[in-house]
C-alpha cells in the first residue's frame, strides 16, 4: 500500500450530502484505499482475479525499509442504530527479525459496539450481520467486477457458471441445497437398511440384489464425480496460478514476440538486399555503355549528317551529268531534238556558257566512291551500341537498398533495445508456461465434459433406484418394514427440498430481475429499452418496447446492464448501505455517466467514488451530483511508494 504514517479520511455523514469523491491518478492508491476498507472489515485484500494479496505485500515499502512492519486500519461507523469502532492491526511477531511470510505477522482485530467490546469470536459474526462478506463485492467493487459480470451475459460461459454459484451463495440458495444433500445422505442409509431387510425376506433376494448393485453403482459414480471435481479444481487452481504468473511476464512475452518479428524482418531485409545486390551486379555488366550513350548519339547524328551530305552530292552530280549530256547534244546539233526548231546563235552562246559552268561545278563535286558505304556501316555499328540503358534500374535498386538500410538500422536498434529489456528473463520458460496453460485450459474443458456425462449417468442410476424403491414399497412384505417407510419419507422430503430450491431460485431471480430493471430504467439513455430479463445463470437480456431481446449491445450498454445487475443483487442481498466504487466509469459515455451519478446517491446511504481525471472531469462531469458531494479528496504522490490523501475542495 502506498499509505504511510497516519492517514485520516472523514466520510460524509449528512444524508443529503452523502457523496464522497476521491481523485487519484493510476498507481497512486485508489484500489489500495478500497482494499484498506476490505481488510479492516474482513481481514483480506484482493488483487486481480480476486486472489488474496499476501499480508506482507500490503505493508508500505518505505516503512518496511525503515524497519516499521506494522499497519492498522480503523473504521468508525453506524449500523442498525449502533455505533461501531473497528480496528484491525498487523504487526511483526516479537521473535521475528525480518518477516518473510504471512505467519511472521500477527493480526489483531477489535470491535466495539456502543463502546462495549465485542468478544473476539463474535466479531466476524457481528460484521457479517450487517455487511456480509459474501455480498461485499457488490458494495466494495472495482472495474474488474464490472467486466466479470458482463461475462454473465454470455450464456454457458465457465466464468458465468462460477459467478452464478457465487451469486446463489450470497442469496442463500446453498442452505436449501445443503438440506437436500443431507436428506439424500439419510435416504442412502435408509436404502441400505432396506436392502439388508429385503435380503432376510424370502422371495425378495432379486430385488435386494438389484437394489444393492444400484447402490454400489451410485456410490461409485458419486466418487467418480467427486474425483473429477477435485481434479477440475486442481487444474483450475494450477491454471489460474499460471495466468497470474503469465500476466506478470506478459510484457516480456510481448517483447519476445516483437523481438522475434524484428529478427524475421532483419532476415527479410538482408535477403532482399542480397537479391538487389545480385540484380545490380548483373545490370552493371552492361552499364559501361550507359556512360557513352550521349557521345554515341552525337556521333550517330554526325554520321547521319555525313551520310545525307554525301547522298546530296551524289544526287547533284547525277543531275548535272544528265544536263551536261543534254547541252552537249544541243550544241552538237543545230536544232532542238524535241521540237526540231533551229537554235539561235544567241541561245547557243547561253547553252555553251551553261555547259562550261556545269562542267566546272562537276569537277568540284568529287565523291569518294566508298565514303557512303563506309559511313552507312559506321551508322549501323553505332546504332547497335545505342540502347535503352540500365542506369535507371540500377539507381532504383540503389535507392531501395538505401531505404532498406535505414529500416535495417531502425530494426536493429529496436531489437537490441528489446533484447536488452528481456535479457535475464527465461523467455523459453515463459513460452513453455504458456503452452502448459493452454494445455490446462483444454484439460479443464475435457474434465468439465466428463463431469456433465458422469452426472447424467448418476441421474439415471438414481432414477432406477427411485423406480425400484417404488416397486419395493408396493410389495406387501416390504411395505411393513420400517426401512421402507423411511425410504419413502426421505424421498418425499428430498422432493420437497428440490422443489424448494427451484422455487427459491425462481423467486430470487424474479427479485433480482425486478430490482435490476428498476436500476436499468434509471441508468439507460435508450427509452425504447423496456426492461431486463434474467436467465438461469443470472445473465440479463435487454428487452425492447416490442418485447424483443436486443441482440447487439455497445460496450457502454454492457456496463450499464452489469451495473444494474450488481445493484439488483446488492439490494436483494442486503438493505441499502454505503457503496465504494473504484474506477467505475471506464467505458461510459457522458450521458450514462450522468445517469449513474444521479441514481447512486439516491439509492445508497453513502457513495464513495474513487476516480481518475480521465473518467471524471471535476469541472464539468460532477454537475449532476455537485449538490450532494459532502467530501472531496485527492491522492497525491509523495514518492513512487508513498501517497497521501488530502482534502480538495471542489
Amino acid at each position: 500500500m502506498p499509505y504511510k504514517g497516519d492517514v485520516v479520511v472523514e466520510f460524509p455523514t449528512d444524508s443529503s450530502l452523502n457523496v464522497m469523491i476521491v481523485f487519484g491518478d493510476n498507481m497512486r492508491g485508489k484500489t489500495s484505499f478500497l482494499n484498506a476498507l476490505r481488510w479492516a472489515f474482513y481481514g483480506r485484500a484482493l488483487g486481480r482475479h480476486l486472489h488474496e494479496i499476501p499480508l506482507l505485500n500490503l505493508l508500505n515499502r518505505e516503512a518496511t525499509a525503515e524497519g516499521d512492519f506494522s499497519m492498522e486500519v480503523g473504521v468508525r461507523f453506524e449500523a442498525g442504530g449502533h455505533r461501531y469502532d473497528l480496528r484491525r492491526r498487523a504487526t511483526k511477531r516479537d521473535h521475528v527479525a525480518l518477516p518473510s511470510r504471512t505467519e511472521d505477522m500477527r493480526v489483531d482485530c477489535s470491535l466495539q459496539k456502543d463502546s462495549i467490546v465485542v468478544v473476539g469470536n463474535q466479531v466476524e459474526a457481528e460484521i457479517n450481520r450487517f455487511i456480509p462478506e459474501q455480498v461485499s463485492r457488490f458494495f466494495l467493487f472495482d472495474g474488474e467486477l464490472l467486466q466479470e459480470y458482463e461475462t454473465l451475459l454470455m450464456e454457458g460461459s465457465e466464468q458465468g457458471r462460477r459467478i452464478k454459484d457465487a451469486i446463489e451463495q450470497v442469496l442463500g440458495v446453498p442452505t436449501l441445497l445443503l438440506g437436500r444433500d443431507e436428506i439424500g445422505t439419510i435416504l442412502k442409509q435408509a436404502q441400505k437398511q432396506q436392502t439388508k431387510d429385503l435380503q432376510q425376506m424370502q422371495g425378495m433376494d432379486a430385488q435386494a440384489e438389484h437394489q444393492s448393485s444400484l447402490q454400489a453403482k451410485e456410490g461409485a459414480q458419486e466418487r467418480d464425480i467427486e474425483a473429477l471435481k477435485a481434479r477440475l479444481k486442481e487444474t483450475k487452481e494450477q491454471r489460474e496460478a499460471l495466468d497470474d504468473e503469465l500476466e506478470k511476464v506478459e510484457g516480456v512475452h510481448r517483447a519476445k514476440t516483437r523481438s522475434t518479428e524484428l529478427g524475421k524482418r532483419q532476415a527479410e531485409i538482408l535477403a532482399k538486399q542480397e537479391g538487389n545486390a545480385l540484380a545490380r551486379l548483373g545490370l552493371v555488366k552492361t552499364a559501361w555503355l550507359d556512360l557513352i550513350q550521349a557521345q554515341l548519339k552525337v556521333r550517330q547524328g554526325q554520321l547521319l549528317e555525313e551520310q545525307a551530305r554525301i547522298s546530296n552530292i551524289v544526287e547533284r552530280k547525277a543531275r548535272i551529268d544528265t544536263r551536261v549530256e543534254d547541252l552537249e547534244m544541243l550544241l552538237s546539233e543545230a536544232s532542238c531534238p524535241t521540237c526540231k526548231q533551229q537554235i539561235s546563235s544567241e541561245n547557243r552562246g547561253k547553252f555553251a556558257t551553261q555547259l562550261a559552268n556545269l562542267k566546272a561545278e562537276t569537277i568540284s563535286l568529287e565523291v569518294d566512291g566508298d565514303a557512303l558505304a563506309r559511313v552507312s556501316n559506321e551508322i549501323s555499328e553505332v546504332s547497335k551500341l545505342i540502347q535503352a540503358g540500365v542506369g535507371k534500374q540500377i539507381r532504383n535498386l540503389v535507392s531501395e537498398d538505401r531505404s532498406l538500410s535505414v529500416e535495417l538500422t531502425r530494426v536493429d536498434n529496436e531489437k537490441e533495445k528489446i533484447d536488452e529489456q528481456i535479457r535475464g528473463y527465461d523467455t523459453e520458460a515463459i513460452a513453455s508456461q504458456r503452452r502448459l496453460r493452454d494445455a490446462l485450459i483444454k484439460q479443464e474443458g475435457s474434465v468439465e465434459q466428463r463431469i456433465v456425462e458422469a452426472e447424467r449417468d448418476l441421474g439415471k442410476t438414481r432414477n432406477e433406484l427411485a423406480v425400484l424403491s417404488k416397486v419395493i414399497a408396493n410389495l406387501p412384505a416390504a411395505r411393513a418394514k420400517r426401512s421402507t417407510a423411511k425410504v419413502a419419507l426421505c424421498q418425499a422430503l428430498g422432493k420437497v427440498f428440490s422443489e424448494s430450491v427451484e422455487r427459491l431460485r425462481e423467486d430470487l431471480r424474479r427479485k433480482v430481475q425486478q430490482k435490476a430493471t428498476e436500476a436499468f430504467r434509471r441508468l439507460t439513455t435508450q427509452e425504447k429499452y423496456e426492461r431486463l430479463e434474467i436467465n438461469s445463470n443470472y445473465g440479463l437480456t435487454i428487452i425492447d418496447e416490442n418485447g424483443n431481446p436486443v441482440e447487439v449491445r455497445s460496450a457502454g450498454a454492457e456496463q450499464i446492464v452489469a451495473l444494474s445487475l450488481i445493484d439488483g443483487l446488492a439490494r436483494t442481498g442486503r438493505a441499502a448501505g454505503p457503496v465504494v466504487m473504484d474506477t467505475p466509469f471506464g467505458r461510459l459515455d457522458p450521458k450514462h455517466r450522468e445517469n449513474i451519478l444521479r441514481y447512486l446517491p439516491e439509492n445508497t446511504s453513502q457513495l464513495v467514488l474513487l476516480v481518475h481525471e480521465g473518467e471524471i472531469r471535476k469541472e464539468t462531469d460532477l454537475t449532476p451530483i455537485a449538490s450532494r458531494i459532502g467530501k472531496s479528496y485527492v491522492i497525491e504522490e509523495v514518492t513512487p511508494r508513498h501517497s497521501k490523501i488530502k482534502v480538495q475542495p471542489l
Binding site: 545490380r280 551486379l281 548483373g282 555488366k285 550507359d290 547497335k384 540500377i394
Partner: protein, 129 residues
C-alpha cells in the same frame, strides 16, 4: 576518318598497380560494385570514354589480364572505341587498355573517397554530358 590497317592484340591488361586496384574493386561481392573484374574493366573504359580522355601509356610493369575474345565477345568495346576515338596508328584494343588504365585509377579514387557507387557515377556522367 583515316583508316589504317593495324593488327589487333589477342590479350589485354593493365599495369600491375592498376591490376591490384581492379582486384580490390571486385573483392566484396555484396557491397562491391562489380561482380567480376571484366565488368569493372569495361566500366573503366566507358568512364574514360565519357570523359574524352586521351590516355597516356600504360605504366610498366604491365600485366596481361584478359583474352580479348572473353572481354569483348560481341566486339562492342572495339566498336565503341573505334567510333568515338581516333586511335591513329595504335590498335583499338591497345587504346582501350590505356583507357582502362585511366578508368581503373579514377574508379578506385572515387570509391576510396567513399559514398560513391556505380549509380552515382552514372548520374554524374549523365549530368555532365
Amino acid at each position: 576518318m583515316t583508316t589504317i590497317s593495324v593488327s589487333e592484340p589477342t590479350t589485354i591488361g593493365l599495369s600491375e598497380r592498376a591490376h591490384g586496384l581492379l582486384k580490390r574493386l571486385v573483392e566484396d561481392k555484396r557491397n562491391g560494385q562489380f561482380a567480376e573484374m571484366a565488368d569493372a574493366y569495361r566500366f573503366a573504359i566507358g568512364l574514360a570514354l565519357a570523359h574524352r580522355v586521351i590516355p597516356g601509356e600504360v605504366p610498366t610493369p604491365r600485366t596481361t589480364i584478359f583474352n580479348v575474345g572473353t572481354l569483348d565477345p560481341d566486339k562492342a568495346i572495339y566498336g565503341a572505341v573505334r567510333t568515338l576515338v581516333d586511335t591513329g596508328s595504335m590498335s583499338v584494343y591497345r587504346w582501350a587498355e590505356r583507357l582502362a588504365e585511366w578508368g581503373v585509377e579514377e574508379l578506385y579514387r572515387k570509391f576510396e573517397l567513399g559514398k560513391v557507387d556505380v549509380a552515382d557515377i552514372l548520374s554524374e556522367v549523365e549530368g555532365t554530358t
